[in-house]
Amino acid sequence: MAEVDLRGVSKGYKDTTAVDDLSLHIKDREFVALLGPSGCGKTTTLRMLAGFIRPDSGQILIDGRDVTDVPPERRPTAMVFQSYALWPHMTVADNIAFGLRLRRLPKSEVDDRTARMLEVVGLPGVMRRYPSQLSGGQQQRVALARALVLGPKILLLDEPLSNLDAKLRVRMRDEIRRIQQELQITTVYVTHDQEEALTMADRIAVMNKGILQQVGDALDIYDRPATAFVADFIGSSNLLSGTLRLGGTSAVAQVGEARVPVEADGLPDGAAVTVSARPEDMEVLRAPAPDAFRLEDPRLVNFGAYKRLLGRHPAFGQLEARVPKAFALGKEPVYLRFTRARAFTSDEGDRS
């Protein structure tokens, strides 16, 4: 059992708020990703969980115990650092055994656990090497082993894959997820890479400017973003700003002269809104139709598996639609229709 409870946690530096009144519950054995752009407060949050930073206000509970004032060495957490932070003057075995020796375990058990953990991370036979003699991916595994060998209740990872090349990153991603599942350990994973968050985590907590924007699984975050920031940050979106017009059962956003049908849960008539539509929620038409807008200066960008159709509209500005790879532009004009668009209150604007 290992649950984490962050209750109204805030942390500010001189003139900025790094984390603003953050509350988050992490369930036992859950893998939660803290996702956001750099400077969003995700690393500060992680370091508060580890005990390196003391929050200005709020509480941190692990299994119901208040650990807000407990120093890192007495917290049941283990952290994997972005730079791995392996001790260069110790061998791999000594790096992993350090914490075990501090706990005065008998030598045979120390050796035993060290060897076993190296097997778990898939790196047997490097015990006597020094960290500098290992590749980046191997160092990563040693750092993971060093954190896991102490049997922590909570595993904390701070952008652990950002120093690896793209191919290795994907492999380590699966590897970390496999190990997490195998050991059934509650995990908090900080990343700015949405692909990592979407593929690895049970739930994703999106942060921006110190504020928790939304917590949910990959589908929630992608399909039902809670704020315009989330809609823009996860995947890509066409963003328009306009005014909400409610009429009976339908809602439209008035953007300049144009009107776009939108989903707007609970927003009042006349509210200033930001409209977000995914490129895959744009229908491409070859002929004019009601609700369709002509795309000016259309051009195609090839992504291999699919293409993106880019262009402009006088009221909306830049627009983007995802089209099959066989799609080609001819001389005739193309039209876009919003098949699904969501409206968010523009008050979120200063949050994003």
Partner: protein
Amino acid sequence: MAAQVPALPAIRLTWWIDDPRIRRMLLRLFAAALAVFIGIPLLTLVLWSFAGEWFWPNLIPSQWSLRWWQEVLENPRVTNAMFLSFTIAPVVTLLTALVAIPAGYAFARLDVPFRRTLLLLFLIPNAFPRIGLYVSLAVLYYQIGLIDTYWGIVFLHMIGTMVYMTWITTATFRSIDPHLEEAARDAGASPLRAFFSVVLPLAMPGIIVASLFSFLASVDEAQGTLIVGTPHYITMPVLLYTLISSFQRPVAAVFSVLLALPSLLLLIVAQRYLHSEYVAAGLGRV
């Protein structure tokens, strides 16, 4: 639309550095100059210390002798001075390290108020003519009874060595990734334990270099020691001054060689240590 930006001709005044032949030649020239300027005076010293008879225009002594060595080593004043020098220097180094290592760590890691000012403060003794400082220190020593005492000399030497130690250790500690220390805390080490298990071993090369400088500076210090240590506490360089003024050149040469020996030995030891594996791996940043 896009304006054609003409390629600028590359103007480099250091083109000759790129030529491997010229570079090799310059390197050799530099090594030769170093050998001439440092090696020849040292060699002359060694020759003089073993010279029985050496008159102009002979390039090397016409007669060899261990007479001067014998004379120096059998002189109780000399052996006393040697003994004193080598009992002062380790104590100075140790005491300096005890103060400078925590200070350096604090300067590097903690949010010390007026950090820059404090660091500059350490340099102040070097900003003035040393002799003035020593004279006023001697006046102070008279008042508090430290004049002509062992500890009086130790404290005087520490004025100089504190600078090396604090500056070098500050730079060393700052080059060590703080995450390494945090990782130790995370694994269950207390702050003190993290310092001794992770930070100190990684800082060792810097600390050893700083200690070396301190040790040599202490062995070498003559001006201040002469002022506050006479008449009872005569160290090697102080004695050397008196020997030079009495114009016994071979004796002075023997003495200089004796003074140079610890530096040489320590440098060789330090070089071996500094080449060890983990230092090569980079100071903490892997």
